[in-house]
C-alpha cells in the first residue's frame, strides 16, 4: 500500500486560537478516509491546508509524494487533487457545461483530454439533464452533482470533500455517497471526506475523530464501534423505588431520567438474565444496540467510556425513543 497523504504534527494557529493542534495521520492510496468531528473541531481548517488554500503554522505534509509549501510542489499537488466544498462556488449565470469546461481548462489539459474526461465524469454524475441549464436555476441536489463533476474534471487521484452532503435531502445524500464510493472503487481514487454524519463515516475504510483540533480516536468503523459503542437497556419499573432498590442491590451502574433507568450492558445477551430477574417489577423495557452515533457521542461528550457512567446525551436519546 502506498501512502497518498501523510500528515505529521500539523498545527494551525490563528491570531490567538489554535485550530489544529499537532495532528498526525496517514491516508493510504485508494482508500476512503473520513475526518469526523463536531463543528469547529478543525476539519475544514485541515482540509484547506491540505488543498494548499491555507498556510500551515508548522508540521509536515506530503501529498502524492510532493511536499506541501515546498517550492513548486504546491502546483503539482493542485494538479492531482479535486475539491468539493461545503458551499457551491460555480457561476450562477453559466451553464453546468460551461462552468465545468472553464474550470477544467485551468489544468492545462488539451481539448480532447478534457472532453474525454467529461464523458468519464458524466458516466457517474449523469449530467445530461442539467448540462445546458444555468447553474443558478438548479436544485440543491443538481448543484451538488455539478460541483462533484467540476472537482473530477481533471481526473484527480485524490478527491477532497468538505461536508459534501450537509443540507441535502436524504435521496441526494444517498446518491452522493454511492457515487463517491463507486468512483473510489472503480478508479482506485483516494477519497478524503470530512463529515459530522455517522452513517457517512461508517462507509469509510478509516476514520479519524477530531475534537478541538486534536485527534481523539482513530481506526476502522468496526474498531471504533467495538471500542466506543456499547449496548444499553432501558427499564421502566411499576414502582420506581422498588426498581431502584433492585438495581442498587445488583451493584449495577445506572442513570435515571423521568423514571427511565438506563443500564449499560457488557453484551446484548446480558439483558436476558437481568430481565428474568426483574420480570415481576417491570412495566416496560427496551434493549438498545450500540451504533456509530454512540461512538461519536461518547468520544465527544466524555472522551471515551473510561468513566463508566451513561452520559447525559445518550439518556436524552433514550427519552426520545420512549416518547415516540
Amino acid at each position: 500500500m502506498t501512502v497518498a497523504i501523510s500528515v505529521e504534527n500539523l498545527r494551525k494557529l490563528y491570531d490567538r486560537h489554535e485550530a489544529v493542534r499537532g495532528i498526525t495521520f496517514q491516508v493510504e492510496q485508494g482508500t476512503l478516509f473520513a475526518f469526523l468531528g463536531a463543528n469547529g473541531a478543525g476539519k475544514s481548517t485541515t482540509i484547506e491546508i491540505l488543498c494548499t488554500l491555507l498556510k500551515k503554522s508548522s508540521g509536515n505534509v506530503t501529498i502524492n509524494g510532493y511536499t506541501l509549501d515546498a517550492s513548486n510542489d504546491n502546483a503539482e499537488i493542485r494538479k492531482s487533487i479535486g475539491v468539493v466544498f461545503q458551499q457551491s462556488f460555480l457561476d450562477e449565470r453559466l451553464t453546468v457545461y460551461e462552468n465545468i469546461m472553464h474550470r477544467g481548462k485551468m489544468y492545462g489539459l488539451t481539448k480532447a483530454t478534457l472532453s474525454e474526461n467529461y464523458q468519464f465524469v458524466n458516466k457517474y454524475l449523469h449530467l445530461e439533464d442539467i448540462e445546458k441549464k444555468k447553474y443558478g436555476t438548479l436544485s440543491g441536489g443538481q448543484k451538488r452533482r455539478a460541483d462533484i463533476a467540476r472537482a473530477l474534471i481533471h481526473r484527480p487521484s485524490i478527491l477532497f470533500l468538505d461536508e459534501p452532503t450537509t443540507g441535502l435531502d436524504p435521496q441526494t445524500r444517498q446518491f452522493v455517497w454511492q457515487t463517491i464510493k463507486q468512483l473510489q472503487e472503480d478508479s482506485n481514487m483516494t477519497v478524503f471526506l470530512t463529515t459530522h454524519y455517522m452513517e457517512e463515516a461508517a462507509m469509510a475504510h478509516k476514520v479519524v475523530v477530531l475534537k478541538q483540533g486534536e485527534i481523539v480516536a482513530e481506526g476502522t468503523p468496526d474498531e471504533l464501534k467495538t471500542k466506543y459503542a456499547y449496548d444499553q437497556m432501558a427499564l421502566v419499573f411499576q414502582d420506581r423505588m422498588q426498581g431502584m432498590e433492585w438495581l442498587t442491590g445488583l451493584k449495577l451502574s445506572y442513570s435515571e431520567k423521568q423514571g427511565i433507568f438506563t443500564v449499560r450492558l457488557d453484551s446484548t445477551l446480558q439483558a436476558l438474565g437481568l430481565l428474568k430477574q426483574c420480570e415481576h417489577l417491570l412495566a416496560s423495557f427496551e434493549v438498545i444496540k450500540g451504533t456509530m452515533d454512540d461512538v461519536f457521542i461518547h468520544i465527544m461528550e466524555d472522551g471515551g467510556i473510561e468513566d463508566g457512567g451513561v452520559n447525559q446525551s445518550s439518556s436524552a436519546q433514550l427519552q426520545g425513543v420512549y416518547s415516540r
Binding site: 484547506e48 488543498c51 494548499t52 488554500l53 502546483a75 503539482e76 493542485r78 494538479k79 487533487i81 479535486g82 475539491v83 466544498f85 458551499q87 462556488f89 460555480l90 457561476d91 449565470r93 453559466l94 460551461e98 472553464h102 474550470r103 481548462k105 485551468m106 489544468y107 492545462g108 467540476r150 481533471h154
Partner: protein, 291 residues
C-alpha cells in the same frame, strides 16, 4: 496561458450575462445623455450665439463635444463594473475554487484586468459607432479615416488608463458593499472630473485645477480635439482668435495650467505616465495584500 484566456472568457460571460449589472454600470452615461437632452446642449448653443452665428454647425460642434465626454466616461464606468466580479469572487470565496487548480492569485487578478480592458474596448467601440450615427443623423459629418483611427487610438489609451485606474481603486476595497459605494462615488464624480456635467470654465479655479490634474480628463480633452477639429474651424471662421481660444478654454478643449497652455503631446504623455504609475502602484498593493 490557456488558464488565463479561459478565465478571461469566464469573466466576460459572467459580466455580460448580468443584464441589470451591465445597465447599472452605464448609469452615469445615461445621466449624461439625459442632462444633455434636457439643458446642456441648449445652454451651450445659447452661449455660442452671443459670439458667433447659431447655425446647424454649432449644434453639430456641441454634439461632438458631448460625444467626446460620453466616450471617455464609458471607458471608466464599464471597466469599473467588471471588477464587481473580482470583488464578489473574493467575498463569496469562489476564488478558493480557482486556487485549488494550478493557477496563481496573480493570474486571477490579471484575468480581471484583461477582462476589464476587453469589456471597456468592446463598449467603447459600440459607443463610438452609436455616437457616430447620432452625429450624422443630427446633421454632422462622418469622421475621416485618419480621424477615426486617431479616435480609436485614444479610446485604446483611455481604456488602458481606466483599467489600471480601476484596478488600483478596487485593490483598496474588499467587500461588495464597499465596492458598490466606490462605484457610486466614481460614477458620480467622473462626469464632473472630466468636465462633462458642467463645462470646465463654469467651475471655480481650484476645481479647474483638480480636473486638469486628473489624468482621465486628458483623454476627454484629446477626444474633443479629434471630434471637434473641423467644426471649430467652420463655426468660428472669421471670428477673432481670442474668441476661439476663450471657447476652447471654457469648454475644456484646451487646458491652461499655471498660465501655460498644454500641448496635445503633453496630454498624451500625462496619460501614458499615469498608466505606468498606476500599474506599478497596483502591483505593489497586490503584493502587499498577498504576501
Amino acid at each position: 496561458m490557456e488558464a488565463l484566456t479561459s478565465l478571461v472568457a469566464r469573466n466576460f460571460k459572467v459580466f455580460t450575462r448580468d443584464k441589470t449589472g451591465v445597465f447599472f454600470s452605464f448609469l452615469s452615461v445615461v445621466i449624461v445623455i439625459v442632462l444633455y437632452a434636457v439643458f446642456l446642449q441648449k445652454m451651450q448653443v445659447d452661449a455660442i450665439k452671443q459670439t458667433a452665428e447659431a447655425t446647424d454647425e454649432v449644434v453639430t460642434m456641441v454634439n461632438e463635444w458631448l460625444v467626446a465626454g460620453l466616450l471617455s466616461i464609458i471607458a471608466v464606468t464599464s471597466t469599473l463594473g467588471v471588477f464587481g466580479i473580482a470583488v464578489k469572487d473574493i467575498e463569496t470565496k469562489a476564488t478558493a475554487d480557482f486556487l485549488t487548480a494550478p493557477v496563481s492569485r496573480a493570474t486571477l487578478q490579471l484575468s480581471h484586468v484583461f477582462n476589464a480592458m476587453l469589456i471597456g474596448l468592446s463598449f467603447s467601440v459600440i459607443g463610438l459607432i452609436g455616437c457616430e450615427i447620432f452625429l450624422v443623423v443630427t446633421g454632422g459629418q462622418w469622421l475621416s479615416l485618419t480621424g477615426f483611427l486617431n479616435v480609436l487610438g485614444i479610446l485604446v489609451l483611455s481604456v488602458l488608463l481606466a483599467s489600471v485606474f480601476n484596478t488600483f481603486l478596487v485593490l483598496l476595497v474588499s467587500t461588495q458593499n464597499s465596492f458598490s459605494t466606490l462605484s457610486t462615488i466614481v460614477g458620480t464624480l467622473i462626469g464632473f472630473l472630466c468636465g462633462v456635467y458642467v463645462p470646465l470654465g463654469a467651475l471655480p479655479s481650484f476645481a479647474q485645477h483638480i480636473i486638469m490634474y486628473f489624468p482621465i480628463s486628458h483623454t476627454t480633452m484629446l477626444l474633443r480635439n479629434e471630434f471637434m477639429e473641423d467644426s471649430l474651424q467652420n463655426v468660428f471662421a472669421g471670428a477673432p482668435v481670442e474668441v476661439v481660444q476663450e471657447y476652447k478654454l471654457v469648454y475644456g478643449v484646451t487646458y491652461k495650467l499655471h498660465g501655460h497652455e498644454l500641448s496635445l503631446p503633453t496630454s498624451y504623455l500625462i496619460v501614458g505616465l499615469a498608466i505606468v504609475v498606476l500599474a506599478i502602484l497596483s502591483i505593489m498593493i497586490f503584493k502587499r495584500k498577498h504576501r
